[in-house]
């Protein structure tokens, strides 16, 4: 039987069965509380100083969003006054930064595909495992950010150092994770496959890989945040565009009216990508 959300005893009742509506309401409470808290602090600060930029008001935030979405960055030229809304968006600061950061992000994700395949091989081919495992385990413990100076020397301060920081930061964990997922495939499946005339590559790519793919996609989903973290670190240190670059620039000008929308935009992008991967996982693997 469904239990009431208003009864405080239910908060610590393992056997409680909240109603669907109660679950929905509860899931939004913290969002609403955060907004209310922010609005309260903002109004308190604005009562003291109407020009306060530390906790911008709703009006300032809307202005900040408008200037990010419809106006070009400071370093870019202005558009003709007769430009359409779409042209304004395409020429805007947030569009430019999103494209710059997005392309770095997706190139790094593409470069992680070989890491997944290496993890698969390490998990299934014993000699591969013996050759790589200890090295990758050791490499995984190196703090990727400490490699940044070396990356700048090797790849220069352009795109590749930032992309390689993301790849080097996430690849070892992804390799080890894929290796573990591969090793969790029941031995019976592999034995059975060999009795069905499969070759070694057939077993790896037609039996094991399709089975581990959903878990590997989940692993990639969990790596989205570390990827973004390394991207932001790289962009904040050496970049001329990108979402993190803009946040770093705005910090100097105390531009919280831009920083806050940017932070929410980044979170929204990552949330959207995570949702897309979850959706793809469900659609591509109806057997789960």
């Amino acid at each position: 039987m469904a239990t009431s959300v208003l009864d405080p005893r239910n908060l610590v009742d393992i056997q409680a069965r909240p109603k669907r509506s109660a679950t929905q309401i509860l899931s939004w409470v913290l969002f609403l509380a955060s907004i209310a808290l922010y609005a309260h602090f903002s109004s308190v600060r604005h009562r003291e100083n109407s020009e306060d930029r530390i906790v911008p008001s709703a009006k300032q935030l809307v202005q900040g969003i408008q200037s990010s979405v419809f106006h070009p960055a400071e370093e870019d030229d202005d558009l003709d006054p007769g430009a359409t809304r779409w042209q304004q968006i395409r020429h805007s600061m947030i569009w430019k930064d999103t494209v710059a950061s997005g392309s770095r992000f997706f190139i790094a994700m593409a470069l992680l595909v070989p890491a997944i395949l290496l993890g698969l091989h390490m998990g299934i081919f014993p000699y591969f495992g013996a050759f790589f495992l200890r090295y990758v385990l050791f490499f995984d413990k190196i703090v990727a950010l400490s490699l940044l100076p070396i990356l700048f020397i090797v790849f220069g301060i352009d795109e590749w150092s930032k992309i390689m920081l993301m790849v080097i930061g996430v690849a070892p964990t992804l390799i080890l994770d894929t290796c573990q997922i591969t090793r969790a495939v029941p031995r019976e499946q592999i034995v059975k496959a060999f009795t069905l005339k499969c070759s070694n590559l057939d077993v790896a790519y037609r039996v094991v890989f399709p089975q581990i793919l959903p878990n590997v996609i989940n692993s990639v989903r969990l790596s989205l945040k570390p990827l973004a973290l390394f991207l932001f670190a790289g962009e904040m240190i050496a970049s001329t565009d990108g979402l993190a670059y803009r946040i770093a620039i705005m910090r100097r000008h105390m531009g919280m009216d831009i920083i806050i929308p940017y932070l929410l935009w980044v979170a929204l992008l990552l949330f959207g990508l995570d949702t897309l991967l979850r959706f793809l996982n469900r659609r591509l693997h109806p057997w789960l």
């Binding site: 029941p186 031995r187 019976e188 499946q189 034995v191 059975k192 496959a193 060999f194 009795t195 069905l196 005339k197 499969c198 070759s199 590559l201 057939d202 037609r206 039996v207 399709p210 089975q211 693997h285 109806p286 057997w287």
Partner: protein, 293 residues
Amino acid sequence: MALAAALMQEELPIARKRRCEIGLKGVSKTYRSEKGETRTVLSAVNLEIEAGEFVVVLGETGCGKSTLLRLILGEEPPSFGSIQVSGKPVKQIDARCGYVPQKYSLFPNRTALQNVMFGPRTAKYPLMPWLHPGFHAYRKELKTEATQQLLRMGLRAADANKYPHKMSGGMQQRVAIAQALIMKPSVMLMDEAFSALDPSTRISLQELVLDIWREQRPTMVFVTHNVAEALFLGTRLIVLGAYSEMMGGKTNVIADMHLQRSDLPYLERRHTKEFIELQSYVEELSYGISCQP
């Protein structure tokens, strides 16, 4: 005596003419733990299994039944001795043996039909089959064959498109048998294939396996710890005992006996005096339990 009659060799003159399908010579298997301790599971096993025999391996937990199967399959090498299947030494797992384990026998990402089609398709078109000109015609032909195989196993046509997680344990094992049989292996190895099933499903699958064996006569090696199942299915019974240092390197095969076949259904046969007597004898032999008052 009824017991002696039950242990009679079936079709002895024909059996003599059959070739040896599986041969084990002085096979031992010892495992070494990380601490360096050794544990012998199988010791000095000599077996000759003739083509078309239905051999059931029986014994208590840890006596080496499944290890014996893994050695025949080529999943593990023996510590000593040699194993031959179809006249060739066993070095690795290959398609000479069909295999039906207790669980995880189906690929979870494929439907029942795809599971059955997987083996022949992979054997004929190993990589990127859609690039081969004859692939689509072959796939159509194979689909018909696989569907027939599933129907033969007692599944409905509608079950063909079900994924394993939507099937009951019994259905999964039927598909697993079809998946193995479509490869037409000369040897079928079944490792406690029906252990996890409810009694009625188990009986119907036992009867199905017997029907298949009567029709196609593959050499069967069936591992179980269920005495009644062993006596109902087998034409030959091998009882293994747990190895101990007291044996001093002697074999842990306690008994190797031929059984008389009967065409009676399971439920009728299990109530016959011979069956009860034999069951009691084998239980005492393998587990040291006497069912007689």
